[in-house]
Amino acid sequence: MTAGTVHSTAYDDLPYTRGGTVDRAEVGALVQSAVDGDAAAWKALVEGLSPLVWSVVRAHRLSDADAHEVYQTVWFRFAQHLGRIREPEKAGSWLASTARHECLKVLKSLRRLMPTDDPQVLDRISEDRTPEQSFLDSEEAAAETERIRRVWQEFEELGDRCRQLLRVLMASPPPSYQEVSGALGIAVGSIGPLRQRCLRRLRARLDARGAL
């Protein structure tokens, strides 16, 4: 990973993305290469689609342990189905909807027990620093850090559905609506309007706190 770059360019060096969005033809080609034995293609798929899978898992508010297991299950199953996927260019949607189904199973198994703990993500420290984290190490970044923390804090306090939708939409590179649909089980056509309203709701919260 490149260190010290800002978010808008942090992923540009990945062959997977074009202009910050997922390139569907590229995904299809990578899947085909991976089927044919190209481990580098598989790795590029993991790099490009891991954040989407993680976002879907996080959007469902599983405990850390459950989130880790679902993430693994989804990738193991994807490896297993690799040569059998009918529309390789839609691998992102396949992963997103498989992750959703596994999350719903976990939630179902927990239903009669107790609610899961909210992930305390603000306290978590990752060992490998992401490009974004490295950016925050720079001197001019202290105020930016505070702003970003406030945005995250207000996001976490949104209603369940908005939080869920935005958590998936904020995956990097940005997911397609087809992938968001698979991730949340909502119609593609309703994503745009919901996205707009949820972002406005978040903006209203931030304005109320004078945080922007």
Binding site: V46, S50, Q133, L136, I148, R161, Q178
Partner: protein, 177 residues
């Protein structure tokens, strides 16, 4: 549309819940500030990359999962999962998880409890069975002449069974126990 997975429920509970929350009724006005929306989403994307990134060890496991790509084995798909397909018995909070996998003429029934795992290969036949828990490890079991097998180790987390029976290899779909 997407036919790779079960996508028939695009307008299911989640869509309804969005409506329940009253999001659709809110009046913010549809102003031309999509640019602002995008920058706010960019901020969220930045925040997620800092505060809730994919854990490095998980990313590594996904990279290693390429080893699980195995075209020589027949894939036995999950056709029954008591968690989803069974009607729960009132008061039964610790009932075993019953799973059925199926491919061609081979069926594998598995029962997972806190004590371990037991199952049967159908039609009944002896088989060598490997319990996979990820790209790195596997424990070996043997199914007897009746196709029955047991393990006193309960799978923790994702698992799959790799069976060698009658000259062919069958792998069950990965599943979280």
């Amino acid at each position: 549309m997407n036919d790779m997975n079960d996508m028939s429920d695009l307008n299911d509970l989640n869509g309804g819940s969005f409506a329940d929350e009253g999001i659709g009724d809110e009046e913010f006005g549809d102003g031309p500030d999509a640019g602002f929306d995008d920058s706010l989403l960019d901020d969220l994307r930045l925040a997620a990359g800092i505060l809730d990134p994919v854990p490095a060890e998980l990313r590594q496991l996904a990279v290693e999962a390429y080893a699980l790509h195995d075209l020589d084995a027949r894939l036995a798909e999950l056709t029954f999962d008591s968690l989803v397909d069974a009607i729960p018995v009132r008061g039964a909070t610790d009932s075993p998880r019953m799973l059925t996998f199926h491919t061609g003429d081979v069926t594998v029934d598995v029962e997972v409890t806190a004590q371990g795992l037991m199952g049967q290969v159908l039609p009944p036949q002896p088989a060598g069975i490997e319990v996979l828990s990820g790209p790195r490890t596997g424990a070996s079991l043997t199914a007897d002449d009746m196709g029955r097998f047991t393990s006193d180790v309960a799978p923790a987390g994702p698992f799959a069974l790799r069976l060698r029976a009658g000259g062919e290899v069958v792998v069950t779909e990965w599943l979280r126990a």
